[in-house]
Each structure stands twice: as C-alpha cells, then as structure tokens.
Symmetry: C2
Subunit: 223 residues, 2 copies
DNA sequence: CGTGTCCTTGAAGCGCATCAATGTTGGTGG
DNA sequence: CCACCAACATTGATGCGCTTCAAGGACACG
C-alpha cells in the first residue's frame, strides 16, 4: 500500500471529510483519532452507520461506486493517510492479494452493518446499547486501544457525544441518556468524560443477549 | 466467471442453503427464483438482511471471511449457478477487473444495509415500508423483472410472506399487516397474491420521505 | 374433513418519542 | 476577572406508535 500512498494529513475535530452523494478522489486510512460515518435521512435526522477507529479504511465505497453513500465526520482531531482513488485499479492488477483484502474489508463492513440492523431491529434499547458498547470495546481491544480493568473488564477512550450514539441506535437523545444511566447504575458500563469503562465484559454480554465469542470481531487484514 | 463455474442446481422452496456461523465452500449466483438472507438473534427472533433476486451473488462473505455472517433461505424454487470458494483467489490474480467487481458488489451491499439501517432507525413504520417497496421495485425494474403499470407505475412478483417483511423492518407481524393495509387503502402499494403493484412510484416515494432518484440503485457489474 | 400455514382484525399496555426545563462546562469578549 | 453564551448532559411529565395477546377467517393439502 505504501506505493500508492499520496500524503499524510492532520484534520481538525468536527470536520466533514467526505460528503454523501459526492464523488471522492481520495480514500484514507485513519492513523490516529476518532470519527464517524453517517447518512442524512432528512433535515434534522441522520443515521450513524459506523464509528471509525485508528486502522480503519475510510471511503472505500467512494472509490468503487461513483459517489459516497455516506458522509464522514471527524469527532476528535485525526491523522490520516491519503490514497488516490485512481490508483486503486492498478493495485488490483499488481497485487491481487491486496484486492482480495479490500473485498474482505467491504464484506466485513457489510457483516457489521447486518449486525447493527439485527440489533436495532430486534433488540430493546437496553440490549442494543449494551451490544454496541461490547462490540466496540472488543473491536478496540483487538486494535490495542484498550486498557485492562480489573479481572474481566476493559476501558478505552470513546470521545463521542450522546447524540452520536442516539443516531447510531435510532433512539432519541433523552432515551439514550436514560439508558446509559441504567447501564451505569447496574455497573455494566460507565461512559463518562470520554472514557468507556466496562468492569465485566461477560456481564455486559449477558445484558446484550449475546456472548462474547459471538460479538468478537474476526482478525482483519491491515491496509 | 464461466471458467470457475462448477455446476448449476435447482433448489426447492424453503430450503436453507447457507447457515450463519458455518463456513461454505460454495458461493452462488441466482439465475431464477427468490430467497432471503437472515441473521438469527435469539430463538424466535431473526433479522432479514436482504431479499435475493435473479442476478444476485450469494455467499460472497463466506468465501472471504472464514464463516458466514448470515443464513440463506429460498422462498420459491431457485435455480443457482455454483462456484467454488477456493477458485476465488486465483480469479483475483488472473482477472483483476473481476476482483474489482467483487469489491464493488460488497461495497454496494454495504451501502444498501446502511440505507436499511437509516430506514429502520429514523423512519416510521409507514415510511420504512414504503421505502422498502420502492427500493425493491426500482431495483427489480433495473433487472427487467417488472411490468409497467399505468402511467408511472410498475408491478412485479414478490412471493414473500408478511413475516419476512416484518423481520426485515424490525416490526411485529401484526403491525406489518396493518401498515400494508394502510398502503393499500391509500393506493400507494398493493401487495396481494405474491404480486406487488405500485400504481405511482413518485407518490410512493413521497410517502417514504424520499425521491425516486435517491432510492434508485446504481448500475451494477454482472458476475 | 381435519390440520397446518398464512392473513386479518380487535383490544390492552408498554417502550420509547417528544416536550420542557435545569444543570454543567468551557470558551469569549467586555 | 467576571458576565455571557453555546454545547452538551440530565431529569420529569405526557402521549403515541408500536408490541403483545387473542381470536377468527381463508386456503391448500393429505
């Protein structure tokens, strides 16, 4: 991938990098910082379709299908590696394994969205919230972004706003807040000051109606 | 693709071809018939993550990520073209454009699931249902599966059960039935005897809170 | 003619949205 | 250095859209 790397940039918090409906010449890999991808449904309604962590590829869609299906917004300051869309075609020819990996990533994203769908569609607010936190912290543990917490727990930076989670789960801000308070009261997950602390991953999994093995992400190729 | 084609099979209605959590050696292209992909959340709760029409690729995930993220179930009898998972790797090397197309397909699926997510998360039952019917009929029109109906309408076979739609939109069967009745009463969409009839696509789009251009699928590569 | 599958309709109740108000924190300019 | 404001978090009250429970109808099949 280094061959087609074009640049490395630092972006301010709360910046829209990619806009839904527009073509993008670039795609990025997140090196540091946090962001999110979202779709706009109507004025004052959006759906967050994913949280972006270091190591994630951003804008693959735009590179393959004329225009972006979602926008990308930074939450914190981010450091990004920049690639050029036009270079992708050549990459497939020269390094088929990389092309295979890209399909893998897209399929993996698809799988994640399917799980989100199942979560929003079939679970209660409480379960869905628990599932999201569990899924997030397990994924970030695989990335080395978490710190151990007690026997079976973990903590990690999670610098989003409650509104972001609400828009991700299709809940109102108010109900999101109350559900978070419940999770905190039951010692399942405490999310304060941008830090997510889960004292017992197994217990959180039970509240989510799933087990850790099911919620664990698969090992992924690096791009 | 013909090079790696292994077989052509006919499958009975209501048959599970791929099972969530298991690896699959095969992937398929639907030549005729209808089916659906679904995830099992718990006993007696599932999430339908997509309806499968002729021309669709089935099981790409299983070919790339060790095991399937969802099950595949036929609704009608289906005719399928069978490919072997192991042949995929070679395909990427020999025909990079095909590999590119596969990523395109996966990214396209991801995009669709994002839209489903937005629909379930942000829209009312009525809007979500209208959106699903519109999206479905527009996609099938591009495949040549629809017949024109009046000035701005279209009709197509849609041989699913109400429970399938309910599980797709995260609604109860009862409410799905009542919402369908409303759509029928308002002359927006009539779905009876396995046929979906939409007299005015634009009007349906208005009920869905979107316009036809936004809901239209992008042209796709054939595999 | 009984049995299973799917569709339909009514009634009751709950989970969540919406409305409204207050608290907290950090930034900004007088 | 404090008054002010904007952004985000929190909490209570009210009501609706949906789920769940229940029952019955239509049709196909052995």
């Amino acid at each position: 991938m280094r061959r087609i790397k074009r640049d490395e940039i630092v972006v301010a918090p709360n910046t829209t990098l990619l806009t839904e409906g527009y073509a993008s010449n670039n795609l990025y890999t997140a090196l540091a910082g946090f962001g999110l991808r979202h779709k706009t449904v109507s004025t004052n309604r959006r759906q967050v379709v994913g949280f972006t962590f270091p190591g994630d590829l951003i804008g693959l869609q735009g590179g393959h299908m004329g225009r972006m299906g979602h926008s990308f917004l930074t939450t914190t300051q981010m450091t990004l590696c920049v690639f050029n869309r036009a270079d992708l075609v050549g990459l497939y020819a020269e390094q088929p394994e990389r092309g295979f990996d890209l399909t893998w990533l897209a399929a993996s994203e698809e799988n994640f969205l399917g799980e989100m769908l199942a979560s929003i569609g079939q679970r209660s607010a409480m379960q869905a919230m628990a599932w999201l936190m569990l899924r997030t912290i397990l994924r970030c543990r695989a990335l080395g972004l978490t710190l151990p917490l007690g026997q079976d727990g973990a903590s990690m930076p999670f610098p989003y706003r409650q509104q972001d989670i609400a828009d991700s789960l299709g809940l109102s801000l108010v109900h999101t807040n109350k559900t978070l308070a419940k999770l905190r009261a039951r010692d399942l997950a405490a999310w304060t000051e941008g830090q997510l602390r889960v004292p017992d991953l197994v217990a959180l999994g039970e509240a989510a109606g799933t087990d850790i093995a099911t919620a664990s992400p698969m090992p992924r190729p690096l791009v």
